[in-house]
Amino acid sequence: MEKQNLNAAPRHWVDLDELTPDYWNSAQEQEKRGQEFFHKPIETLEKIEKLDTQGIARRDFLTLMGASIALATAACARRPVHKIIPYVVKPEEITPGVANYYASVYPYAHECSGLLIKCREGRPIKLEGNPEDPITQGKLGTQGQASLLELYDPERLKGPLKVQRASGLTQEVSWAQANADISKRLRSAKSLRVLTSALVSNSERKVLQDFLSSHPGSEHIEYDALHDNTFAEGQQVCFGEAVMPEYLFDRADLVLSFGADFLGTWTNAVAHRKLWGKKRKLASANAAHAKMSKLICVEPTMSVTATNSDERVLVASGDEYKVALALVGELLKGNSSAAGSAASVLSSYSAEAVAKDSGGSVTAEKIREIAHALSENRGKSIVLAGGISAQSENGLALQIAVNWLNSILGNEGKTILGNRAPQTYQVQKTRVMKLLEEMRAGKVDALVIAGTNPAYSFPESFGFKENLSKIGIVVTLASHLDETASRSDYALGASHYLESWGDVEVRRGLHYIQQPVIAPLFDTRSLGETILGWMEPGKDQGMNAHPWYDYVRANWKAQVHAKHGRGAGVDDFWNATLQKGFVDARSSSEAPRAFRSAALANLTKFSGRPVQQIRLALYASSSLQDGRPANNGWLQELPDPVSTITWDNYLNVSPKLAKELGLSTNDVARVKSGAAEVELPVVVQPGMHASTVSVAVGYGRERSGKVGTGVGVNTFGFREGRAGQWVAAGLVVAVTKTGRRYELGLTQNHHRTENRPIINDLTLSEFQKNPGEANHTDPHLRLPEIKSLWSGHKYDGPYRWGMAIDLSSCTGCGACTVACQAENNVPIVGREGVRYAREMHWIRIDRYYSGSEDNPDVVYQPMLCQHCENASCETVCPVLATVHNDEGLNEMVYNRCVGTRYCQNNCPYKVRRFNYFDYWKNHQDQANLVWNPDVTVRTRGIMEKCSFCTQRIQEKKLLAKSENRLVRDGEIITACQQTCASEAIVFGNLNDPKSRVSQLQKEAHSFRALEILNNKPQIAYLSKVRNKQKERTEHDGQHHG
């Protein structure tokens, strides 16, 4: 066997430093690795003393503690007396200790999923996708998973507040008082404007219409900070109607994306991951004929989608449209009549011209190659563009070119359905701009704002904040006293969606019922309830009156029952829908939409910018999105999939540009455009276009709460309103070094595997030739049978639990991390804790690069406890707190653990987490209600790690036992597996040769992580396969001397 050359740069690398020769052997690195706290500041003794004991020195405290424990034991041989308080009248459906599941919906236009809500003793403790949902099929995204924590946020508005706009002083009022005053003042207003986020509930829309119709001169405007206006406009211009069509990635063999982060932050990402994942799974049984879809990304930044691409073409931000037009030109070659009025435009964007303009990052051959691939996949491809980072000056041209491409290729009606169940997706910005204009002119008397935070997300240049003072009354319905609510006359507490009724229709014909699973924790109301209160202010809602529920039901009866009831009684139909969660009345039409050639009039020769200028692209953060959930610690601490940074936004700079500007990671740079100027920490991001920098929006909230206030920098200010377009990309900026440093909560350097090869990846052509080990990237990943010191475990019971993780379909989105956090009571540690590498996630997504730093390949690897047979942790635990059981689980017994951390040090996968402090105490007041009662909440000094959701195993095993059978395959679903939209994770019984997990583990392209250590993990990874025809490059080869 070939001897590994440890001096060579690794084939897979995490950090750019590793590409320096002899990195892992350098004296400094060895020193670093020898010292646990080489980089990290250790809390001074003083600080620990303060934290623990408030004044008493730590050592004295420990001594005293020893004594007092003894005393306590002696004085109180009886344990503390606990009370049992039963119900007076037990609700029939509640059995203490047994969970109830209710169907509902995660009701946002950006991402809408059917839900199954797990409730214990009347409180929701876990959100899961509704498996019957025809779109998301049981899956839920990151924000959906985390939205549970927002319900229990103790800093939510707890009722209506009257705010003095000048001083900001607030005063609690009752709903009756507030409604009486508000409705009086709204009635006397000549021009009332209601600004909401995109409404998804038909009843909300109707009640608002009812309300506005009694207020002459009023208007309803929808605004969401991340709404894809350019996309909507493109749809409007090209197809006559602004909709978000269905993209059927499971029917597409080729996907070409111009900056649309459809697997990450774009609209309906969960559905997209689900469908895309179906085309990324390979079986080695018929490897020679294996097929998978191909994803090509044309974009300047490293979005989650870009990191999942098979091929990436780098263009400067704002120049994507050039490539799209060149592709149109190539496809229409020899058919000049088809180009119509745009023929002359196309001629100026020939492949050669675009290549020349690109400064070398795009070649004419590449464009022809893509055009050829597209023409080979007519009707089997998808071309798409979207998201905030595609909203450049020429964003509309890009949209039109993309729609044109799809209609040329005949994808409309095949892979893109605009008629079956599209989502109404209006162009919001026109009406918003009109509102801003009216506000500037002082023509608005009253403004009601709900579910959106314009004071935060409008750039200063829009003048929203200053013109608020010209409005007589401003009423905001918000979850927190946020930037907008604190500038209003009334800040009304909004109910969480888990506390309120609604009937949601995001995709036409798919009607969900949103049902409350808990009574409002505070004196809050939903939008519908609030408006009903204004319509009849005298008649306020008593305890037993539920006017909003009655309203929703009446509306449901008229709109849904009348059309789709199929003769069932109203009550029966309503109850059946409540139980199922939705009514599926989608149209079955797959008719293609006709492309309007009139749209081509919008294509002209655009004034380009020289590619050398530094351009800024804004993008949506994978965790915070538009900044609404900023006070959600689960999301703040979720590492960004690509940069692995928590708790901050930062400026992504390419290695080349960083060198030019003298910047390195953690340097603070000043970014200045015509509209805004901010200072941001820098991250040197491999794969960025050389002259494009990018930064996430959604950070820098001024008024969010203890968690979210002041995290990061608000970058919405860079957005510009220019000639009717909202421009968020391709912005020319100046970047300068400030000389200051700022330490980001960067997790990529934590939990390293010491340069041991841990990833296996191959191209599709290699897979087709031999999916087995011969093609494995690194021969050291596989070991022949070797002699073991251990006698081995016997799994002679019916079960042996194991997992298989498919690296080809894992998109790295991080939903599993949040799902695990919710299921297993995993705490958050804060930015400072992350800097010390103390994050507590039981499952993390490791991101590895390979290839050149300018355009690397990326592979994501979900890393969790491998439940090794020869576990390194078990042999070093002095108190037997971690032991192997007869079902293959590596058990962690919290009550035995004394916190030596030997196990953590000895674990080669670095998946064990230590509670340095009582992190659970961060959950104050109501936040305690989020804990899963089936999982122990760990205290300080305890080691913890993935348990394979042992509480779920236990639950299903007991169920099977009581039914006198064995657990069925697929019956136990771990939390990470449950939410994984691309179904990369499969859990099951390895003792059953027919189980899915056994089959997957037998695949020829499966491998175990760090097999060389003979730890024998119960988890098998399926090698990452990329759809690249290219064989391995010389760059890869040189490191295997």
Binding site: L64, A70, K83, V89, P96, L889, T950
Partner: protein
């Protein structure tokens, strides 16, 4: 850590503190020893607190032979056996023995919607997960763990409820013969003296 003129005073103070701590330490060791002698297995066996209403199991379950699960109806379905809610009591006591002051107290609670705060007798530590349901479903009698509640006026803890005590049955070290007869797993020889595990005893069965 202190500086200047305070240093002498504080060092004297710390000597005094150390002497104090030494005595505390000695006392602690003595007390721990006492505790170990008094409570060899740290069990709460014999604990029987006074309840807010002197409900008698002897009368209900013993004399009147009401089935345990009439009131503790969730034992078969849930991890908790559960104390019955007041409406279960009122099923009978809206007509039975309404002249008793205790029943009047009970009725008052029920009408006012105020639950009764019973004192918990059987309690496992927080890090132990025990489910009634599989035990009941296997046919293990309540009295195996709870003793002869039918004869108790005031409920007392009879079993040790310690880990060793649980494992005695699970591992079949000292399981009562009726338990062995009930739960003998499939394939186990039909020999009442057979020694072999009766139930899972890996850590994660109870600790997670």
């Amino acid at each position: 850590m202190s500086s200047g003129s305070n240093s002498q005073a504080s060092s004297r103070g710390s000597v005094r503190k150390k002497i104090g701590l030494f005595f505390v330490g000695v006392t602690a060791i003595f007390l721990i020893w006492t505790v170990i002698c008094l409570f060899p297995n740290a069990s709460n066996k014999g604990y029987g607190p006074t309840q807010p209403i002197p409900f008698s199991h002897r009368l209900h379950a013993g004399t009147h032979k009401i089935d345990c699960q009439y009131c503790h109806s969730q034992a078969e379905r849930s991890q908790h056996a559960s104390i019955p809610s007041l409406n279960v009591c009122m099923n009978c006591h809206s007509v039975v023995k309404t002249d008793s002051p205790y029943i009047q107290n009970l009725t008052k609670h029920y009408k006012e919607g105020k639950p009764i705060e019973w004192v918990r007798v059987h309690e496992l530590p927080d890090h132990v997960r025990f489910s009634h349901s599989p035990h009941i479903r296997k046919g293990i009698g309540c009295e195996t763990c709870h003793g002869d509640v039918r004869s108790m006026d005031k409920v007392q803890q009879v079993g040790d409820l310690t880990m060793g005590w649980c494992l005695n049955c699970h591992r079949n070290r000292a399981a009562p013969s009726d338990v062995i007869a009930t739960v003998r797993p499939k394939g186990m020889p039909d020999d009442p003296n057979h020694k072999g595990p009766l139930a899972p005893f890996s850590c994660s069965t109870c600790h997670y």
